[in-house]
């Protein structure tokens, strides 16, 4: 991978650049965040001509490494104003890597008001008119593109992105051509929309395998890596059997499952929307439903699923933990069919499901929908697709919705809504929500592992002790994993089985001829964090932005009846000495 394509949408021209040597060792998030920090003026308007959208496969993408199908999108977030990296599975990353693409940098804004499509092949990148593909929902769009181009990778936006709604994600298709894999958080779909790109097609026809310097060494390391993933209970059993929604009962039991807009940490009927229930329904209904499914070839964790409707037709894939929480428990909705339908609506319109659910809960606070009444929330989501004023507000996410309707009880930091773990009861992830470089986010530093799953350590989720350290460690480790193109779930296995980390390092060394050591993992992640913190500082962020909304310090969360308790000066220690 040594090509960088620079796509100038103002001039409608593409330039192929050789990857500069300073970027050679970078991939995925490490590369997108470095380019963002190097090239984007930090105070620019995120939807203006000076922001850029950067795509980069991970270092191991396109190889035979298990679970290496992630790619990163980077830019300045219109939702948060911070730097943003959002990575995603699906089938495009491996195809980009096979096309020898290190990164695509999309800049400028077209002078006219038309939408375009980018077509990436081994011969380069073409800018084509989108014609009547503009305005389509992502399901119809994906179908039309596969009809025309065959089983290509499809990176696209829905109406939300076209309309520059700040909760717009970027969809990547799965092996069945469904648009359910989302680089959801942070609104980069709106950035893609601002650049008037409806879809990016990635065709790997005629490409070779990704070059690997030492094939034999790579093969051995890849095998060892797979064994680690299969051996660990979470990646080898829990996730393959029940998907990420296996967490519903676990987090609910722990009292950290935010219910009714973070009013309490336990939802009485959570079992109705659990991973176990999803598997049961998929099995019972049969047809296209699948309890186990991959988002890209070579995944052996297979946490994805296909949720069927009553007739057995695929309704949505995947139905994930964060989504059954955001569109389910957080709204007191326990009807799985309605949750799945809302998930499909979000995918079709092009919305991040986490932010969408947090937003709907804020809308319920404003009296626009009724707790527990799935249909009332479905109506609100439909407003977004119709682009009504109300729909446009909801499409902006929870913070703007709260502001427009005068609601102060908005669980968000730096403008991004909180995911499926109450920060008062799972305090480590609360530290991550406050201090991540990208606003309220769980994957940025998934202390749920140590707090709840007791993977990679055991830190009492209800106590303040140790949370700052565990969040920092996880944020740095995650930044490293996000460079590799590996799914973050591999970290679950590697934290308990250290031979996994060695295998990752061995694979990278075998592919690139480098001499990295396991000790370098923290260095890589630390450098990514430094880069991102530097951008945010230039953009005007300070530690004063690393605060949870005040109700987490004042309202006790049942059943444990705790507030967040971690003090600002503790939070400030996360990045004090980086």
């Amino acid at each position: 991978m040594d090509k960088i394509y620079r796509v100038n949408m103002t001039e409608l021209k593409v330039r192929e650049e050789k990857c500069p040597s300073k970027y050679a060792a970078l991939g995925g998030r490490g590369l997108t965040s470095t380019i963002v920090n190097d090239e984007i003026p930090a105070t620019c308007h995120p939807l203006g001509a000076h922001n850029k959208l950067i795509l980069a496969p991970g270092l191991l993408s396109g190889t035979s490494a298990a679970c290496s199908g992630r790619m990163s999108f980077g830019g300045k977030s219109p939702l948060t104003g911070t730097i943003k990296e959002s990575n995603v599975g699906g089938i495009a990353s491996q195809k980009l890597a096979k096309n020898n693409v290190k990164a695509i940098i999309i800049e400028g804004i077209p002078k006219d008001d038309k939408f375009y499509i980018l077509e990436v092949t081994k011969d380069g990148v073409k800018i084509l008119p989108a014609g009547d593909l503009a305005g389509l929902g992502t399901y119809e769009l994906n179908k039309k593109l596969w009809d025309k181009y065959g089983k290509v990778g499809v990176i696209c936006i829905g109406v939300a992105g076209e309309e520059r709604m700040c909760n717009a994600g970027i969809s990547v298709n799965d092996p069945e051509g469904g648009p359910g894999r989302y680089a959801g958080r942070g609104g980069l779909g709106a950035v893609m929309g601002s650049k008037k790109i409806k879809a990016i097609i990635v065709d790997d026809k005629g490409t070779d395998k990704v070059p690997v310097k030492d094939e034999e060494k790579f093969k051995q390391a890849a095998k060892a890596f797979s064994q680690v993933l299969l051996k660990h209970a979470v990646t080898g059993q829990a996730l393959p059997n029940f998907g990420t929604a296996v967490l519903v009962n676990i987090v609910n039991e722990a009292g950290g499952f935010p219910t009714k807009n973070f009013r309490r940490g336990r939802f009485d009927t959570a079992a109705n929307i659990s991973g176990e229930k999803i598997a049961e329904v998929a099995k019972a209904r049969g047809g296209e439903g699948k309890a186990v499914h991959v988002c890209h070839p070579g995944c052996i964790i297979r946490c994805s699923n296909i949720y069927p409707d009553k007739s057995g037709k695929a309704l949505v894939a995947p139905l994930e933990y964060e989504t059954v929480w955001s569109l389910g428990g957080n709204l007191e909705v326990d009807d799985l069919d309605k949750v799945a339908y809302m998930n499909r609506l979000c995918n079709d319109i092009g919305l991040d499901t986490i932010e969408a659910g947090v937003t709907l809960a804020v809308a319920a606070e404003a009296g626009l929908a009724k707790w527990g009444d799935g249909d009332s929330f479905i109506k609100l989501l439909e407003e977004v697709g119709k682009k009504t004023p109300l729909g446009r507000v909801l499409g902006q996410g929870a913070t703007v919705t709260g502001r427009v309707f005068g609601i102060t009880r908005v669980p968000a930091c730096k403008g991004q809504g909180f995911p499926a773990y109450d920060p008062r009861t799972v305090k480590g992830v609360g530290v991550t929500y406050a201090t991540s470089t990208m606003g309220g986010d769980h994957t940025a530093g998934y202390a749920v592992l140590q707090n709840i799953l007791k993977v990679g350590g055991d830190v009492n989720p209800l106590k303040t002790e140790g949370q700052v350290d565990v969040s920092r460690t996880m944020q740095i480790a995650t930044a490293t994993v996000d460079c590799t193109g590996l799914c973050l779930f591999v970290a679950i296995a590697c934290l308990d089985l250290p031979e996994g980390l060695q295998a990752i390092i061995d694979m990278i060394n075998a592919e690139y001829g480098t001499t990295l050591k396991v000790d370098d993992i923290a260095k890589i992640g630390t450098q990514v964090m430094k880069t991102e913190l530097e951008f945010n500082k230039k953009a005007g962020f300070t530690r004063a932005d690393d605060r949870l909304p005040e109700f987490f310090d004042e309202e006790k969360c049942p059943p444990h009846n705790l507030t967040f308790e971690i003090k600002p000066e503790e939070l400030d220690k996360v990045w004090a000495n980086i």
Copy 2:
């Protein structure tokens, strides 16, 4: 003035406190900003229980000093997130001072959802139920309150404030009982609404004159001060004859009158909405119309006016320069009756007219109204009053409206829309928009004086040279004036006639027995700025927030065809050494 009333809206209790000695020398903005910085957690939610609303008459309020009827409102702004002071004329300030009120600090939020009224008399402050006064427009509200309480001072909010819309201002009544004097900018009406206070009645029945230590000395100084105001061409002639809208033709001629959402600096038919035209219509229609009017007893500048409808009935008072610009030229509307009607609508709903007009222009960019079509803009304003989703968006101001509708061409800084001077053509005020402690604001440092009116200096408005210094000087001087309770317009005279400054200092010394010198004026203002900058720093603001939107650096403004040109590093010099 030595009483501080602390009104706790959570407990519905009032506590009378003796003014602490550290606040004794402070008044108006100096006092509100100091209390804000001392008492409000800088990172709190502006509409939550931790924000406070602080009222303080100026140091000279209630005395016989000419033009001393201003009072300050302070708090954390829900529009900008910064510290906010907004001062206003009308009849309440003098009555507060006569009641010996140094400040009222309103804190907490009621537990129920009902609105209240505060009644301030010589005996203290009472919290009364608002009953069916809640929900009323400010015109009807003011009428009902005068019917019940007599000609009291009325401080109130409209529906916009009740609904916590961030462009809600606070109205103070004029001598005729009209609600046209607004502490408009920064959304403190939403803070008052969040505290569930519909109105504050100020009755000075049974009060004495404000005590003055040296009556004779005060009388002499007050006389000298009046003479200065009457002598200067602007305060003695231009403003009394044509009101502030005398600026329309002047600024338009200078090419700095932002037209069609800051697309150019000259509006072909500006004369139709000029001060001269207002005076002509008021004279021709007769009836209640007045080209010259005072906003409070003792004003000798008399820049206010009463604009009559076709039948001679008062439609709105006053019709000011900033408003005929925001609801007129900025929308390409040159029909004075429609502009006046929009102004009345804003007053009635409780919106700041500047932000409202900037917002309507952004709405026109989004295709929601038609440039030049007054009726289309009137319809949008009516949506605000009806509290529809669209109306609630518009009630949030220009920045949120731009975000909801995907418009990047929003003339605003720190979330507050720009007033009636194009920063590319009147560069000194552009520096103020960028660097004021309260977002885009002209009164914070009115370099228009030196740039256009050639008062207090002559700095070419089209050149970058000298603008940073003139903006800083004006921001500091303004901060001082805002402490006194004097109308900012007195500065116009005092900048050219230094005996005016001496007279102000003499009046303060005579009232309080202090020994201030003219040299202390800059020190007082500098201390206010330091206090405000300190609060903003704690709230997370940095110099990166002191930037104009990028289109001012890229689009040239006809007729002079200039961009803003002043570089970030120049802007950063404004507060580098304070």
